[in-house]
Symmetry: C2
Subunit: 462 residues, 2 copies
């Protein structure tokens, strides 16, 4: 592995410090002992700390509690949570129950965020009963191979974090830690991976164990070495994949520290945002709603679905949307729309049947002959063989549509819909700027790809 002085310098900054390592491993060892002592489950340290691929400052410790696979599922949840809770209590820790595919305990212990996750101790990854059962196999697979590449993994993780593409959560739709490790194994290093990525296009297939059993629709496919039927990078969106391609090209062309420690994104003041918005000339609308009381990975896809449905509704009413985005915060979430048009004439074309469809044509004409003339404008008249009438547009102002019950009629996420039924204030223009959403709105108004952001900042420095 050849590394540049820049990369060596980055590594010096991101490698965990000795006392940090000692502290984390001490806590881990203590918790592992507590589990062993319980006699109920066997402990396993998993995640980046188990693999030695964590970055200075990371505070996430993942410990799995492996139970006998014959235990019924309900018992696993009850016993598993019971044991995890007991351990957290013994540590005198603050903790809470969380839920992924099944429940686990997240506890705050000696400054670390510790996940205590009950799972089944299965024979092989092909016998798993739930997704978490797979994790121990991942850890084992990586531990057996990653030793020579640990520094390379650290560089990649830091690079991906800096580019905003690290994490397989629903909000990021990016690269998980495990995926980073597999990519490094495949290409045998950070730079070889970047070189390869510059040539990627949708349809990349990586299958380290050459054991794939099916095809996958996602743009990036990395077959799980411990499960031939799973794509590890299923969570990576086309946009995140392309951003990685572009980051790789940008870094290789002009390596700089900013690709690992990016310039801070400036949050616009309300005055700056107002001025930017006014120069764009667009019409900004925000619907704010109480965040549904579920985890991010449940709420974010619902917010996205609702955003898409409302965007389609606006477009259908000819309030053309330039861009839209959503943001989930602890208490409130925001659906943000930037419209090109927010005000339309009362007239709207409405096409009817062709003239030669005699029955429908007669019905159509009769309807408008007997209608109150205030309900429509011109017509019916014939255009290219079709009857056309000019009727009154149901909503001439986007704000009226967004404040109407139409919002609840589109395909919203279930919990988002419940929230919107409770409260859905609509703001327009600079009133969309609420202090807690200022970073979100700032980024929305100044949107650029990560590489463009980095390179533009570099340019300004020089």
């Amino acid at each position: 592995m050849t590394r540049t002085p820049l990369e060596e310098g980055i590594l010096d900054e991101i490698r965990p410090k000795e006392d940090e390592t000692r502290h984390i491993l001490d806590v881990a060892k203590r918790l592992v002992s507590r589990i062993e002592e319980s006699g109920q489950a066997s402990p396993m340290l998993v995640g980046s700390i188990a693999r030695g691929t964590w970055i200075h400052g990371d505070r996430d410790l993942d410990i799995f509690l492996l139970f006998d696979p014959d235990l019924p599922r309900e018992d696993l949840e009850e016993k598993g949570l019971g044991l995890a809770r007991k351990i957290a209590l013994a540590e005198g820790a603050n903790f809470r129950e969380k839920y992924a595919e099944h429940p686990y305990i997240n506890a705050s212990i000696n400054g670390l965020s510790v996940d205590l996750v009950p799972c089944y101790r299965v024979e092989s990854a092909s016998c798993i009963k739930s997704a978490v059962d797979r994790t121990p196999f991942h850890t084992q697979y990586i531990r057996e191979r990653i030793q020579p590449f640990v520094d390379e993994v650290l560089l990649l993780k830091q690079f991906a974090k800096a580019g905003g593409i690290y994490g397989s959560d629903q909000m990021t739709e990016g690269f998980a830690g495990y995926l980073c490790e597999l990519l490094i194994l495949q290409y045998q290093g950070f730079r070889p991976l970047l070189e390869a990525a510059t040539q990627w296009r949708p349809g990349v297939l990586i299958d380290i164990e050459d054991h794939r059993t099916r095809t996958f629709p996602e743009p990036l496919v990395v077959i799980d070495p411990v499960d031939p039927g799973r794509n590890v990078s299923a969570s990576v969106s086309l946009t995140r994949m392309c951003e990685f391609i572009e980051l790789a090209r940008g870094y290789l062309a002009q390596p700089s520290r900013s690709f690992f420690f990016p310039p801070k994104k400036l949050v616009l003041s309300i005055e700056e945002a107002a001025s930017l918005l006014s120069s764009r000339g667009t019409h900004l609308y925000a619907i704010t709603l109480p965040t549904p009381p579920y985890i991010e990975d449940i709420v974010v896809p619902q917010l996205r679905k609702s955003l898409d449905a409302l965007r389609a509704m606006l477009d259908r009413h000819s309030f053309f949307v330039n861009r839209a985005d959503c943001e989930m915060h602890e208490d409130k979430s925001m659906l943000l729309f930037e419209l090109l048009i927010d005000d339309l004439p009362a007239v709207r074309r409405h096409a009817g049947p062709p003239v030669w469809n005699r029955v429908n044509a007669a019905k159509f004409v009769e309807k408008y002959l007997s209608a109150d003339e205030s309900g429509f404008f011109s017509g019916p008249f014939i255009e290219e063989g079709i009857f056309v009438v000019e009727i009154r547009r149901p909503y001439t102002r986007a704000i009226d549509l967004l404040r109407s019950d139409q919002v609840l009629q589109v395909a919203l996420g279930k919990h988002v819909k419940q929230s919107l039924e409770i409260s859905r204030p609509v703001n327009r223009g600079i009133e969309c700027y609420q202090e807690e959403f200022a970073p979100f709105i700032s980024e929305f108004l100044q949107k650029s790809s990560p590489t463009v952001w980095i390179e533009r900042s570099e340019k300004k420095k020089s």
Copy 2:
């Protein structure tokens, strides 16, 4: 032929009066004698007067001067026009030269508008040297057959005139007199024709002599009995055909005098037009130009072509057009556009290459990295694998686009372009209302099919 009392009453109004007939035939006879006396050509009375199918009040007399087919074309034009001119002079008439496929004389004689048209006396319609040579054969064909149906033809012509679909000129795109006669021959009467028309759809084929030699793309095809390779109704647009279908249905369902003598179209006052426009909420724009100094059948298609091209230009710039129409007057012509949008934000999306097209992607990004930031807004950023940048819209106001030279860059008709280069004032809103175009604008704002217009008026009466 069974006719209703309504139809008999209409016939009483539209049949030529005895003294009218005498006067017209006297003039015709005198002109025919003059041509015979010249010894240069043989005269032939053609058109509706020759066939006895003219309507009370018609003042058009068509007399053809048939020359030997061995005469060279230039000599025909010279000798033919010379003779026609001599006859007009002998009548002491005002006259002027006109031009269809070749030149003729239009003279004002005893209150009649007389066309004196030189043509070749060919053996059969298949040997014609120009379109006018066909006319004598039409006259002969109809004269030999129309006698029993003259009243039916009169009803149809009056019905078509009232519906605004009579005339094969480029502006009307409707039914010529000869076509009306053929339709009556085919269906053996006015009512049988209407009955049939209620069932028409595009693709109707009528071939009285059953001698068609090719297929035709037009929606209505009526093969010329004297020329198997010609569609007599080539000029009938789909819209006019459909309006005829609808008029037929409307009349048969509820016959009324209005189908022959329609209620007068009301011309809006400027105040009424302003109020109507304001309730529509749309944005009206008119370009007025000097009418090119050519006949209607040359200018009108050019106006239409220019209208379509400018409409496409407006749509391309996102100034969406609801409707557009044009009108040709003697000195001035108008291109009229009704926009749904006439004001847009400065921001405009501009999609670039896909990220995996490495060379073009790099060029695209570099262009906007090195560009002056005042020239664009956000980006480049990546959306669904494509680079996107938000640039400055070239025209944010429709009026600026319509007043720019862009208007001259689109596919205009040649002579219309020359006129627009001389002068093209653009009006907006109610300023489009110019006294001489008031009927045109009134009809534009109150557009409806002829049948709807007639039935709505009937409804208001009762």
